[in-house]
């Protein structure tokens, strides 16, 4: 209780609120601009948050995390161009409502639903995280190793169309984590005599390069020849959704729980949550045939669903140290850089930080709604910022952000290499999240495996037999990587033969 009250006191301090407001504005901006993503915003702002430092820095990252997903709905509703993949489902009914001449109503519903989804997920996080952490306290090195493999395998199998490519991406990440001085023996690995590499590959430039820089390059290529196309922004009135409250509330509650559940599963994301929520809202609706013509539930359901994944993704992150998606992977990197190690021990050793994160997350959602309702007209105008201004700003932020962390020009070169690598990875369908997760979890996986080998004295099989949780986690990992793709391939072959 003392931690809870202290956290409340810290979060509502003017400095913290200001940082959260800045994070919210930044998050909404990256969310609404097509071509920019929430992960890109988180990566670019990571050095800024680390420079701010302390609790305010964490709160700023949380504010970006939740508001970027909401931001994507603004362009989806106004110009039928989802700012992020999470808002693609919102565009169906949102844009239809705009075409009916009610863009303000659509934006109001989306803002309110996003806030409710975020708030419900924050409450769920507050309730489940300590319980799960208590249970996770029984975990030993075997469970931690299995958990790391589970997180990696889920992200590798779900986020990539090709399982091998997902695994390759994760393995490259794990290999990058081995670079530098090995902590147990003090041996330098893969440093090639470079003093810079002795400390290992820094997360920040790699995150910025892979998520922000590469995305900037992709946008530059894709926007070739589209420079002079101006979008017409419709006039926005009546943004407060008072008259729709009764209609949308059931959809909001249902979708929020769907979002929380999906968010808590590593490897999934807001796009899945929003489509599942949309389909469920349609299934439960009295007139499902009206969906797609601009019904309020068609906007409320995907928005509540995709914003609820933020709280859901924080559950495995805070309790087990396993990020649920790319956004929470960046948050994990930020927390590690700030000296906060997510996992079950976090609740007993740094309980104050946990409650700051949870309360901050609640307040960030409220701020997001406030900023959304008050600044919606302003944000709508921001979508007209041309690429020739936005792109250099992104690139300069990437360079300065990479340099600013350690005042090292080496970090800038690492960022450029990671950016170019990320560009080719994105072009060729090699997903980035497994690589980042591999880089972040690499040391944890290696040290726990070495502990397991030492404790078991080499008899790994019999050791794991006495660790049912670890066995179940490893089994699920194996199934997600090999058995499910194998089954789907078999099904396809059968269908072919029948045809």
């Amino acid at each position: 209780m003392a931690n809870f009250l202290n956290a409340c006191q810290l979060v509502i301090q003017p400095g913290s609120l200001l940082c959260m407001l800045l994070g919210t504005l930044c998050g909404v901006f990256v969310g609404l601009m097509p071509g920019l993503s929430s992960v890109m915003g988180l990566s670019i702002m990571l050095p800024v948050a680390l420079s701010v430092g302390g609790n305010a820095g964490i709160l700023m990252m949380l504010a970006i995390f939740c508001s970027a997903i909401y931001g994507g709905s603004i362009t989806a509703i106004l110009i039928n161009t989802p700012g992020t993949a999470n808002s693609a489902a919102t565009a169906l009914d949102g844009y239809a409502m705009t075409k009916k001449g009610e863009p303000g109503r659509a934006l109001g519903i989306s803002t309110f639903s996003s806030m409710c989804g975020g708030l419900l997920s924050a409450l769920c996080l507050m309730w489940t995280a300590p319980l799960l952490a208590k249970y996770a306290l029984q975990f030993g090195p075997a469970e931690y190793f299995a958990l790391g493999v589970f997180g990696l395998s889920m992200v590798a199998s779900v986020s990539s169309g090709n399982v091998f490519k997902g695994v390759i991406s994760a393995i490259i990440g794990l290999f990058l984590a081995t670079v530098g001085m090995e902590s147990m023996s003090g041996v330098n690995r893969f440093t090639f005599g470079s003093l810079y590499l002795t400390g290992g590959i820094s997360y920040i430039p790699v995150l910025i390069g892979l998520f922000a820089f590469s995305q900037g390059l992709i946008s530059t290529e894709e926007n070739y020849g589209k420079e002079n196309k101006n979008q017409q922004i419709p006039k926005i009135n009546h943004v407060f959704p008072f008259r729709d409250m009764k209609t949308i509330l059931p959809s909001i509650v249902r979708s929020s729980f769907i979002g929380i559940l999906i968010g808590a599963i590593p490897g999934t994301g807001g796009d899945i949550a929003s489509w599942v929520s949309y389909n469920e809202a349609k299934r439960w609706a009295k007139h499902p045939d009206e969906f797609g013509t601009g019904v309020p539930e068609g906007i409320a359901a995907p928005e509540a669903g995709n914003n609820a994944i933020t709280g859901g993704a924080l559950i495995p992150l805070l309790t087990l140290g396993i990020p649920g998606d790319a956004g929470s992977a960046v948050i994990l990197g930020a927390l590690l850089m700030m000296g906060i190690v997510p996992g079950p021990l976090l609740f007993s050793t740094q309980g104050d930080k946990v409650y700051i994160i949870i309360i901050g997350f609640l307040v960030a959602n409220l701020l997001m709604a406030l900023v959304g309702f008050l600044g919606i007209r302003f944000f709508a105008k921001m979508t007209t910022i041309p690429d020739y201004i936005l792109t250099p700003v992104i690139f300069i932020f990437c360079f300065v952000g990479s340099y600013a962390m350690n005042n090292s020009i080496g970090d800038v070169y690492v960022m450029i290499v990671a950016g170019v690598l990320g560009y080719f990875m994105l072009k060729m369908g090699l997903n980035i999240p497994p690589l980042i997760l591999g880089l972040l979890l690499g040391n944890m996986l290696e040290s726990n495996l070495r502990r397991v080998v030492t404790i078991s004295r080499g008899a790994l099989f019999s050791f794991f037999l006495h660790r049912p949780i670890a066995v179940v986690l490893l089994l699920i990992s194996f199934l997600s990587l090999f058995f499910l793709p194998f089954l789907s391939a078999l099904k396809k072959r059968k269908q072919k033969r029948q045809a």
Binding site: S51, I171, Y388, F399, M428, E446
Partner: protein
């Protein structure tokens, strides 16, 4: 029969220059993985098997190298015998103007990275931003100048004055 198909596909691989298709990319990726795993084995050959009664520092990277090799073999198998896309399916075409633009930006980034070390943030950014804007198709010089100065001042104020971080300084300061 499969051997002949393999030979034919290798001929395709060599004949398509300036273009990256999924099959070609997969072959390059498999090659990189094989090279990387070989490098890991070479680099870890002198590392101890056991240190402080624990597995040595070379065990984990070697395990990763083995998985890398397996993935490379599976990827090659998939590419030559399972992947339905053809050698002519283009994913990155280096002849396209959009990709030219990206290549130009690559060059600019490297130049900027080096310039940052010697000329510092302000001078190199004042040159880098107009160059990027020109590559992006902007030709109005007044516009470029205003945007350039605004961005540099904005970032300088945020990082140097508000966040108190150190930005790269020129060699003469």
């Amino acid at each position: 029969m499969e051997y002949r198909v393999c030979l034919l596909q290798t001929r395709y691989f060599l004949s398509t220059t300036g273009v990256l298709c999924m099959k070609k990319y997969n072959c390059i990726l498999a090659g990189i993985l094989v090279a990387l795993s070989t490098m890991i084995f070479v680099q870890t050959r002198n590392m101890l098997e056991v240190t402080n009664n624990m597995p040595g520092p070379g065990i984990w990277p070697r395990a990763l190298a083995v998985i890398m090799l397996l993935c490379a073999v599976c990827l090659l198998y998939q590419t030559f015998f399972r992947l339905k896309s053809s050698w002519s399916e283009v994913l990155v075409d280096f002849h396209k103007p959009g990709v030219h633009r990206v290549c130009l930006l690559f060059g600019l980034f490297v130049t900027f990275g080096i310039a940052l070390n010697y000329l510092g943030f302000v001078i190199s950014s004042l040159m880098f931003i107009p160059a990027v804007m020109v590559v992006l198709g902007e030709r109005r010089w007044k516009h470029i100048a205003v945007v350039d100065v605004t961005i540099v001042v904005f970032i300088y104020l945020i990082f140097e004055k508000i966040l108190n971080t150190v930005l790269p300084a020129p060699f003469f300061m």
